[in-house]
């Protein structure tokens, strides 16, 4: 067991575990965002619960932050090591003949997702942390002194999607996320050793997930852009 992370297989196993965790998180994020289309009240209630329940805030959120940082750092570490493994390149290389663009450009798509997360944190996460933990307002209300003012989450969400450029950046980022997932979903299962009679079905499900979830996020952003 000792030193498993020092081995190539151990590192890819850890990379895959963090990826599987992030894919589960993405799905629940998508489910909650979907509520904003069908029921602003339900979206507000669930957002308030997610933003104030101690187990989520103080246990799952740190785990999530660690998972995100680990996934990105390990991605760059692996890329660095892989580049070292071939010091002289080929004069002619026909990589498209044997592998997909997505599989060869995980660092590029990952870097775009990382940049997007900077914007996303600036839009939502930093303001939330500021209101809750710096200003000390855990009420979740638009006006903390007015109990009838209602929760602020839906209003905050709609306000962010007024700007067309922001919606465009979100849409492009989610296209890149889709490309990342089109390789990453099944790659994660392969890395943990799951390649068996269910793999064909899993690949099909992976495509549905990799296209469906990012597309859903884009449609939600467009919905709020056209309905604010």
């Amino acid at each position: 067991m000792s030193g498993i992370l020092n081995s190539s297989i151990g590192r890819k196993f850890a990379m895959a575990l963090s990826a599987l965790f992030l894919m589960v998180f993405l799905l629940q994020h998508f489910a909650i965002n979907s509520l904003s289309v069908f029921s602003p009240d339900a979206f507000n209630e669930v957002s308030h619960f997610m933003g104030t329940f101690w187990a989520i805030q103080y246990v799952l959120q740190p785990v999530l932050i660690f998972g995100v940082i680990f996934h990105f750092v390990m991605g760059f570490v692996l890329e660095y090591q892989n580049n070292k493994a071939r010091q002289v390149g080929y004069a002619k290389s026909s990589r498209a003949a044997n592998s997909s663009w997505m599989s060869r450009n995980m660092l590029l798509t990952g870097a775009v997702i990382l940049a997007f997360m900077g914007l996303h944190f600036y839009d939502f996460w930093f303001p939330e942390i500021n209101i809750k933990f710096i200003e000390g307002d855990m009420s979740g209300l638009i006006d903390p002194n007015d109990a009838d003012s209602g929760y602020r989450y839906y209003e905050h969400l709609q306000h962010k999607f007024v700007d067309g450029w922001r919606v465009a950046i979100y849409a492009v980022s989610f296209v890149l996320l889709s490309l990342h997932l089109l390789h990453g979903f099944n790659s994660a299962f392969q890395s943990v050793g799951a390649n068996n009679k269910y793999t064909k079905g899993l690949k099909g499900f992976g495509k549905v997930y990799a296209i469906g979830v990012p597309l859903g996020f884009i449609l939600i952003a467009l919905f709020h852009f056209f309905n604010h």
Binding site: M1, I4, S7, S8, I9, G10, R11, K12, F13, L78, Q81, N82, K84, A85, R86, Q87, V88, G89, Y90, A91, K92, S93, S94, R95, A97, N98, S99, S100, S103, R104, M106, H183, N186, S187, Q190, S191, V192, G193, A194, N195, N196
Partner: protein, 249 residues
């Protein structure tokens, strides 16, 4: 008959920087093998008093794994499931320009021209790619142990790996996982391989990492370019074997 322009990597020795050199060749029959075409070029070079192109070859029937040419950007050339010696000139057109390069990987240093040192594969094999058998005279006949047909077939498929290194050459990360996983799998699937299973996978992966091969990112290029069609299933099996062995201690 075909006229071609060959762009061949020439490197005097391991310390030389090396470069691509252009060689026009003419009168090439489409029915020649790729290596025969190189033989024609080399004869012309020898006749002119020049140094012939050094390249590895042995059986010339696709079973020894010696020929190791990266042809027009692909290991063993444009066809799949063949080695360079099984490639024929009919796969090219008259007037084509063909790039011929050695396998590229830190763990496969160039010895001369198109020849690379693949002894890193030998060291990985020596680290655990075997079973220890007591040959004192009362050894049990291997065929006396019943083995599931499915496992026997998969073990045989893994054992067809000829260790040519096309997987490493094709992988954008220069990963050797397809090779190592084939060698791990051929024993992991058979009862004879169980006794040393834990040490085998740990030691072979450790040696693979020490040799400087890259990490696998599951692009699948190795499977596509493998002349023997070794499946990615073997890498998943090796991952399972390695993780189980690591947790066992």
């Amino acid at each position: 008959m075909m006229n071609l322009t060959l762009k061949i990597w020439r490197q005097k020795n391991a310390n030389d920087k090396g470069k691509i050199v252009d060689y026009p060749v003419s009168g090439i029959s489409p029915d020649m093998s790729f290596l025969e075409m190189l033989d024609v070029l080399n004869q012309e070079l020898i006749d002119k008093g020049e140094e012939p192109v050094a390249f590895d070859h042995d059986c010339r029937e696709g079973i020894c794994g010696t020929c190791s040419l990266y042809i027009n950007g692909r290991a063993h050339g444009p066809q799949t499931k063949i080695t360079a010696c099984q490639l024929h000139m009919r796969s090219f057109n008259d007037g084509d320009t063909i790039y011929i390069e050695p396998w590229r990987a830190k763990a496969f240093p160039v010895v001369k021209d198109l020849i690379v040192d693949r002894s890193s594969f030998d060291r990985i094999q020596q680290a655990g790619g075997f079973i220890s058998v007591n040959t004192s005279g009362n050894t049990q006949d291997a065929n006396a142990i019943p083995i599931e047909k499915e496992n026997a077939d998969k073990a045989f498929d893994a054992a067809t790996c000829i260790g040519c290194g096309a997987c490493v050459a094709s992988c954008k990360n220069s990963s050797a996982m397809l090779f190592v996983s084939a060698k791990v799998s051929q024993f992991a699937l058979l009862p004879q391989g169980q006794v040393e299973a834990t040490d085998r996978v740990l030691n072979m992966v450790k040696q693979m990492d020490e040799e400087g091969f890259g990490n696998c990112t599951n692009t699948g290029a190795c499977e596509v370019e493998c002349p023997k069609g070794i499946s990615l299933e073997n890498i998943a099996r090796m991952n399972r074997e390695y993780l189980a062995a690591s947790f066992k201690g």
